[in-house]
């Protein structure tokens, strides 16, 4: 028995040693290439993660495509201009698949920083998958160009290594929606939200915003993010006789919610969900014109076009070029957010006078308020949190063979008047 155990021990030690030696070898190699490129890098390494499966795949893949699109654009033009070296340098994209797992994402972020020595780092979609990057990046003094994470906990005065370059914190999203509800004198409002950071933050803003205007929601409840059957929930919402029903979920919640609504036998004057505006093709395919028609959502680019930009392509140009580059991929908000985020990284490289992460952070800070890209104005707070962006209220209108989302509020951006109450039948 003892002999066996010793043998087993030996085998274990051998395996572990083998592993360590193998890593050491690759490490030495990596260190070597890095040393020889100390003065002017041969390439700018952009690192990102994506999720090919799991809860975030639907949003993560387009975001990744948006980044890929930017990399191809740059390389077609002979590389990205790096002010620190006063020349264009080829861009190399390193991307790993985290399968929507935060644990896997954590080690991969660490890998991007410590093994691939990326120059530009764009974390994966959403707060849950960005969270594991924040402290590691800060520890390694690596600037994160945050595309779609909206958690407020990420942005603190003592951490200069994260900058919101894409989507604004979801807590700010409902501001125009509150204004719209107040303007329409809608008093009886039901809010159903999922118990996750993204949705709970929106719900809290809505609730506080409405109460500030003297409107107390008649129904304000959370449900598990895994909820997929909505019949009974809709029935108990209907029991409070709301004029407007606002469901804040992920696309996997919004879709069954919208699909169950008509058959639950209640017709509400206004129904609002989060994702149709961001993933219109997906919703058209999975919900369809009939159930989607006349509901409301956040209108995001490309629904809200920014024709005048001073960095990169404008919204319409991007839509065309992206469609040509990725024919099977819809032009949606996560794709644009990926592209828009990469543009902010481009600005950092274009302007930073020294090739360091902090210099890039300063360059980005200087650009705040002065840039407009395909996803709108770029403006950040001192802590690096995005505050320039604004999500108007959109409404889904049936149009020939499908649906079109039009901005109905605020009035200065509106392309049509809201059809309120929604037509019956």
């Amino acid at each position: 028995m003892k002999v066996h155990r010793r043998l087993l021990g030996l085998a274990g030690v051998c395996a572990a040693t083998g592993g360590v030696v193998a890593i050491a070898a690759t490490q030495a190699q990596a260190g070597h290439t890095r040393a020889s490129a100390a003065s002017a890098p041969k390439q700018i390494v952009v690192g990102t993660l994506y999720a090919s499966s799991g809860a975030y795949a639907a949003d993560s893949i387009p975001q990744y495509d948006g980044v890929k699109f930017w990399v191809n654009q740059m390389n077609k033009q002979g590389g990205v201009y790096v002010a620190a070296y006063k020349k264009k340098i080829h861009v190399k994209l390193v991307a790993y698949n985290d399968q929507s797992s935060p644990t896997t994402a954590a080690t991969l972020y660490s890998q991007l920083i410590t093994q691939n020595h990326v120059n530009i780092m764009i974390p994966d979609f959403g707060s849950v998958l960005t969270a594991p990057a924040v402290s590691i990046a800060q520890d390694h003094h690596q600037l994160l160009f945050d595309a779609t994470a909206s958690g407020t906990v990420f942005f603190t005065p003592n951490n200069p290594y994260i900058v919101g370059a894409g989507i604004r914190n979801s807590a700010f999203w409902p501001d125009p929606l509150v204004q719209f509800l107040v303007a329409k004198h809608i008093k009886k409002i039901a809010i159903l939200y999922d118990a996750n950071d993204f949705d709970a933050a929106q719900a809290a803003t809505l609730d506080h915003g409405l109460i500030a205007h003297g409107v107390k929601p008649v129904y304000y409840q959370s449900t598990a993010t895994t909820t997929t059957t909505y019949g009974t929930l809709i029935d108990s919402i209907a029991a409070t006789n709301p004029q407007a029903v606002i469901e804040l979920g992920y696309n996997t919640n919004d879709i069954p919610f919208l699909n169950t609504l008509p058959s639950a036998g209640h017709k509400f004057n206004m129904v609002f969900t989060v994702f149709p505006g961001q993933l219109p093709q997906l919703f058209q395919q999975q919900v369809g014109t009939k159930n989607l028609g006349y509901t409301y959502t956040y209108a995001t680019p490309p629904l809200v076009p920014y024709p005048k930009v001073n960095l990169g392509l404008n919204t319409a140009q991007f839509s065309r070029a992206f469609k040509a580059a990725f024919p099977s991929q819809a032009v949606d908000y996560p794709a644009m957010a990926g592209y828009g985020t990469a543009l902010i990284a481009q600005e950092a490289l274009n302007k930073a006078t020294s090739f360091s992460q902090l210099a890039m952070r300063r360059a980005v800070g200087n650009a705040s308020g002065k840039l407009t890209t395909a996803i709108g104005q770029f403006k950040i707070t001192k802590d690096g949190e995005e505050e320039g962006e604004f999500l108007p209220v959109g409404q889904v209108f049936p149009s020939h063979g499908g649906t079109a989302i039009k901005v109905v509020y605020p009035t200065n951006l509106a392309t049509t008047k809201a059809k309120y109450p929604a037509p019956k039948g």
Binding site: A58, A195, G231, T232, S236, T252, G265
Partner: protein, 291 residues
């Protein structure tokens, strides 16, 4: 609200019961817990989805297609693993690990074969309209699911209590050794039962694609947990118990959604734990499964 939750609870509960029937049967006959049960449901859902979107056939036709396929696959699989399980000193634990692996394989294959995103069917099994019951309006797939689940469960009961093979199956359920001594072809009966168990799971898949708002490759483990909760509530290895368990589960879930949606997510797990600890043989069960 009470009436709505009550009717929805019964209709969805019947579906849950049907979805759990195969798990119960497999346990009753083979004493194995098929951890991949939910993944087989997912495969059934994909079959229904593909039929509807590619061939424009009513997705419920997935059931007659899936049944012979699942029976054949189940029987073959049983023949493949039975010798190894028979040799094992702890077949229940080994089967648990085995099906855990099978579940991973199915999930991986589903991810490779189908999209990673959730797929939703736009048209219901009987058109798109709502169905009114006692003045309440429901998505038509609620009653449709119940309408498939009840005859499906009756068919299983008929098989078990009115056919020769069913008699052999029940003999096997009560004592494997005695069944063998009575000249029952234990292997063939077991293989067939496992096949039927898979067929039931796949059939439930054609309904699950509606009731659960769509299908995604990663849905399997959640469905297994739900099915397990249902059979534990009703009593494992007792097909009638599965339906009762389904009803209890469905009603508890729907009433929680109605009155305490914040905590509704906890209901299935708490119910499962409570039944296991307080009445471990299930509401209708006889067997004790204490350590």
């Amino acid at each position: 609200m009470v009436l709505y939750a009550l009717i929805a609870g019964v209709l969805i509960g019947l579906f849950y019961g049907f979805a759990a029937l195969g798990l119960s049967l497999a346990f009753g006959v083979l004493r194995v817990v098929n951890i991949a049960h939910g993944d087989v449901i997912v495969l059934g859902s994909y079959l229904a989805y593909e039929l509807s979107t590619q061939a424009h056939i009513n997705p419920l036709f997935a059931i007659p297609i899936a049944v012979p396929l699942a029976v054949a696959l189940g029987m073959a699989f049983y023949r493949f693993v039975a010798p190894s399980l028979g040799r094992s000193s702890d077949p229940e634990m080994v089967s648990l690990i085995l099906f855990f692996g099978v579940s991973q394989v199915i999930e991986a294959l589903a991810t490779i074969g189908f999209s990673v995103n959730q797929d939703t069917l736009l048209t219901g099994p009987i058109g798109n309209g709502a169905v009114r019951i006692l003045g309440q309006s429901f998505p038509n797939y609620y009653p449709a699911a119940a309408a498939v689940a009840v005859p499906g469960a009756l068919l299983v009961m008929f098989y078990l209590y009115r056919s020769r093979l069913g008699l052999a199956t029940r003999a096997l359920m009560s004592s494997r050794a005695d069944a063998m001594l009575s000249g029952i072809d234990v292997d063939r009966t077991s293989a067939l039962s496992f096949g039927i168990a898979l067929a039931l799971a796949a059939s439930a898949g054609a309904l699950s694609v509606y009731v659960n708002g769509g299908v995604a490759p990663t849905d399997g483990p959640g469905l297994t947990t739900t099915a397990f909760a249902v059979v534990v509530i009703g009593g494992l290895g007792n097909p009638g118990g599965a339906l009762v368990g389904g009803l209890v589960f469905g009603l508890a879930e729907q009433f929680a959604q109605s009155y305490e949606p914040n905590w509704a997510g906890l209901v299935p797990y708490v119910l499962l734990l409570a039944v296991m600890l307080v009445k471990p043989e299930g509401l209708l069960g006889r067997r004790v499964r204490y350590a």
